[in-house]
């Protein structure tokens, strides 16, 4: 009986932890998921830029739409109190220099918007506009992201 109770407690604890992990209400978790989605959308673009796959305008526009969606809410996911914990890679600079962070994020949003407006039909047209988008990713990461050991 005691053994069963212990099991029950362990199972309950495990369930609780899983539900915290999947709960959408932790901004640290939400922003991580959002960035993962952006990264997955960036991969096909990268393959095209590297010449590993042929340019596909439809796929490119879908990826850019994912970026645009993410960019709308991403900046709201860094409230006070979520500076650390949960394996976050957010740098303290986000809270120390919020204006700079917002500017770096705006640079990415603007570049994404411009790339969508350009509707690149082939790789030659895509290269400069996607270059701006990727450059903005990197620029923001340089200052506002730290790397956590996996």
């Amino acid at each position: 009986m005691i053994k069963n109770t212990t099991h029950l407690v362990l199972v309950a604890a495990a369930l609780a932890m899983v539900s915290i992990a999947v709960a959408g209400d932790d901004p640290r978790h939400e922003r991580h998921e959002l960035m993962e989605g952006v990264r997955d959308a960036a991969k096909p673009l990268g393959k095209m830029l590297k010449g590993e796959s042929a340019y596909d305008a439809e796929v490119a526009m879908a990826s850019l739409a994912t970026f645009a969606d993410a960019g709308k809410t991403f900046g709201d996911l860094f409230p006070e109190g979520t500076e650390t914990g949960g394996g976050t890679e957010a740098a303290p600079a986000i809270w120390e220099d919020r204006a700079g962070f917002e500017e770096a994020l705006a640079q990415w949003n603007d570049a994404t918007e411009a790339a969508i407006a350009a509707k690149p039909a082939n790789l030659e047209e895509a290269k400069p506009v996607l270059g701006e988008v990727f450059g903005a990713c990197k620029n923001c990461h340089d200052t506002y992201r730290i790397e956590e050991e996996e």
Binding site: R39, A42, G46, K50, F134, H141, D142, R145, I146, E147
Partner: protein, 310 residues
Amino acid sequence: MGRFARIAAGVIVIAMLVAWWITAPQTIAEQDLPDHEPDAVAGERIFWAGGCASCHANPVNGKRAKGEDRLRLGGGLELETPFGVFPVPNISPHDDDGIGRWSATDLVNAMQRGVSPSGRHYYPAFPYTSYARMRIEDVLDLKAYLDTLPAVEGRIAGPELDFPWSVRRGIGAWKRRYLDSEAVIDVEAPDDLVERGRELVEDAGHCGECHTPRDQFGGLQRDRWLAGAPNPEGRGQVPDLTPGGKNVSDWSASDIAYYLESGFTPDFDTVGGSMVAVQENMAMLPADDRAAIAAYLKALPAPAAPPNAR
């Protein structure tokens, strides 16, 4: 003075002379330089490969210089190491505060022998142990390019270290053990691309300075060449680039070249930490050079020694 005392005094004098000789700065004389017409355009490539700007460019508002600001080489960055803090000197062509009055021979001796124009040893925070392997012609081209950059005012004071590191003369003994212009890795049947990559990685690029672990005297462990090392600037590890390394070994040559060009990993994460500045330098090189670096890294053998062998 008794006989024993005289012998002891003699031994001490001889030991001091030997120590003086061992620690003496070794330099190259002007007449030993090759006959070479310096080419500033070729020198720019060496400048980016060598990563001069990553340490020597003036920080802008306390941050790493980017873009054109990387050409203002007034120094001022502080390198924190286990041996003490090294303020990076001004190497802009300013006559008084920089290296404007240096001859080509002065630059060769600084970069390849670790000796200043006044004959003092430099601390190996300046990676002359890597630059020593460069072709002298490349250093002469680099000098021509550095001369074209803006002169920046402001003299940077030298490092203040604790004893015994404060005794520069001792670096002479260190150099006897660790300063060597031979190639590190003998690649089996290297082609031209791999050999070019070897020069970029081992020599000018000085990749080994961070990616190779150091022994207790701060010398690189050649039997763990590019096999990863503790991050000198804080937490974590500088990645292992050899086969079997966990971060990079499954990258293809084109993945490596693209990473150096764009800063994006095959997973579409971006470059981080100190590698950001390195990658931005590598992005300035011709595409062939990045392909050469990738070819060399893919040709690397497994490390000769297991981790923590010492």
